[in-house]
């Protein structure tokens, strides 16, 4: 078993059993073979898709968008008005498709994103979602007990902060703009981006303290 297969077991410690692995390797290989033989898929294109989502598309894209919003009020305003358009003005971020909506955390409101019905997630800015985001515990609880989920994930908010949960039930996608940590005055955009975690852009975390 490879190391990656072992980590799969760890991730699913509460889920499907070990025999799924070998079964799925065989079944997926069979399906890919059939679809390739029929000319429906091109294995080289499949390789490229996997590579793209393993290396190119990830939360570093979202972090750059948030860092720019922290240092550039005009960009932040544009981002909150039309996140797709604003993100696509940043040449160094890979392209963002339609209907991205940025929501800003403030001392008054903390935003949390979930998809109770499936796994909707802003891939282009955060990459593919982690297993927990797609899991039954998160999907079931985020809407009925968001503060409990946040506490479990180590996020405690001031009593006066309201929580707003965004259930991604349509083709709109949500990116949380976390609050800029104190003590980062004068920091460069690049350095700030290092504080913007994936979870802070889902709302299940905060930006890192400097």
């Amino acid at each position: 078993m490879s190391d990656r297969d072992k980590s799969h077991d760890t991730a699913h410690a509460h889920g499907p059993d070990h025999s799924e692995l070998s079964e799925m390797q065989v079944r997926v290989r069979a399906l890919e073979t059939i679809l390739t033989e029929k000319g429906y898929v091109d294995p080289a294109a499949l390789d490229r898709i996997v590579e793209t989502f393993e290396t190119e598309i990830g939360p570093h894209n979202g972090a750059r968008i948030v860092a720019r919003a922290w240092v550039d009020p005009a960009f932040k305003k544009a981002l909150l008005e039309d996140a797709t358009a604003a993100a696509n003005t940043l040449g160094h971020v890979s392209p963002v498709g339609s209907h991205l909506i940025a929501v800003e955390n403030t001392p008054e409101t903390h935003n949390l994103v979930v998809c109770t019905l499936c796994s909707c997630y802003p891939w282009e800015v955060l990459g593919l979602p982690p297993v927990w985001y797609k899991s039954a515990p998160y999907r079931s609880r985020a809407v009925i007990d968001p503060k409990g989920v946040l506490a479990e994930l180590g996020v405690t908010l001031p009593e006066t902060t309201r929580v707003r949960v965004w259930d991604s039930t349509a083709e709109t996608r949500f990116l949380v703009v976390p609050m800029r940590p104190a003590g980062t005055e004068g920091w460069s955009e690049e350095r700030l981006a290092g504080l913007v975690t994936r979870d802070s852009m889902i709302g299940t975390g905060l930006a890192k303290a400097p």
């Binding site: 290989r29 109770t116 929580v163």
Partner: protein
């Protein structure tokens, strides 16, 4: 299906949220292949994203809950391929194609990968003006269609407020059935926590869904 196991919002008993540190995008090579196969076959345009979701929702509940995420995707893809006659059960069992493939309108080549990096565009020209505006009070309909819908159970029958109009979009309930785009206005509707979960709920929480106009009545 509408009232099936995928509609999890508000259920109890699934336990804590378990986070894996430094999680890779794919945990085994086959997961990446399933992801890529899904993208590639989606590119053929033979089915909509909504039909794809419906195929997962109609998995038997025990299969749905007992499968990892990408196994679910695989089972849904296999089901769609069989339904569309693109593969047959004997081929799946043998692991090889027994006959030449059909001619498809398009297939995904290496040069097309750039195009599946970004999401599709689901906004459509509006056939009529929006019925609601921000600030309007609305009640989510109590509907229980036996087919695909994106109105979660926990919001049905509940009173909310339109916060934003998001444009006119492909209506999933129609698109999943192959009935075309049937564009409908889309709204962000906010619900008070106590409206959703009762008097014991924390008043410091609100929950929004993005709801298509046919899901809403004026209130």
């Amino acid at each position: 299906m509408t009232n099936s196991i995928h509609d999890m919002g508000g259920m109890h008993g699934f336990g804590p949220v378990v986070v894996e540190e430094n999680e890779p995008p794919f945990h085994a090579a086959w997961e990446g292949r399933v992801f890529a196969l899904q993208r590639a076959m989606g590119f053929t345009g033979l089915w909509t994203i909504d039909a794809g979701r419906a195929s997962l929702e109609t998995l038997p509940p025990l299969d749905y809950l007992g499968s990892s995420y990408y196994r679910r995707w695989f089972l849904g893809l296999e089901k769609r391929l069989l339904q569309h006659g693109l593969v047959d059960a004997a081929e799946l069992a043998a692991g090889h194609s027994a006959r030449p493939g059909r001619r498809l309108n398009r297939t995904l080549g290496l040069a097309d990968v750039e195009r599946v990096k970004t999401r599709g565009h689901f906004e459509r020209p509006a056939p009529r003006p929006a019925r609601f505006k921000p600030g309007d009070r609305v009640r989510a309909k109590n509907i229980n269609p036996p087919t695909h819908t994106r109105l979660p159970r926990y919001a049905r029958g509940k009173l909310g407020t339109v916060e934003a109009v998001r444009g006119c979009h492909v209506f999933p309930d129609s698109a999943a059935l192959g009935h075309g785009d049937n564009p409908q206005w889309l709204y962000t509707v906010v619900f008070a926590n106590r409206e959703l979960w009762g008097e014991a709920a924390d008043p410091g929480v609100t929950v929004s869904i993005d709801a298509f106009e046919p899901y809403l009545d004026p209130a």
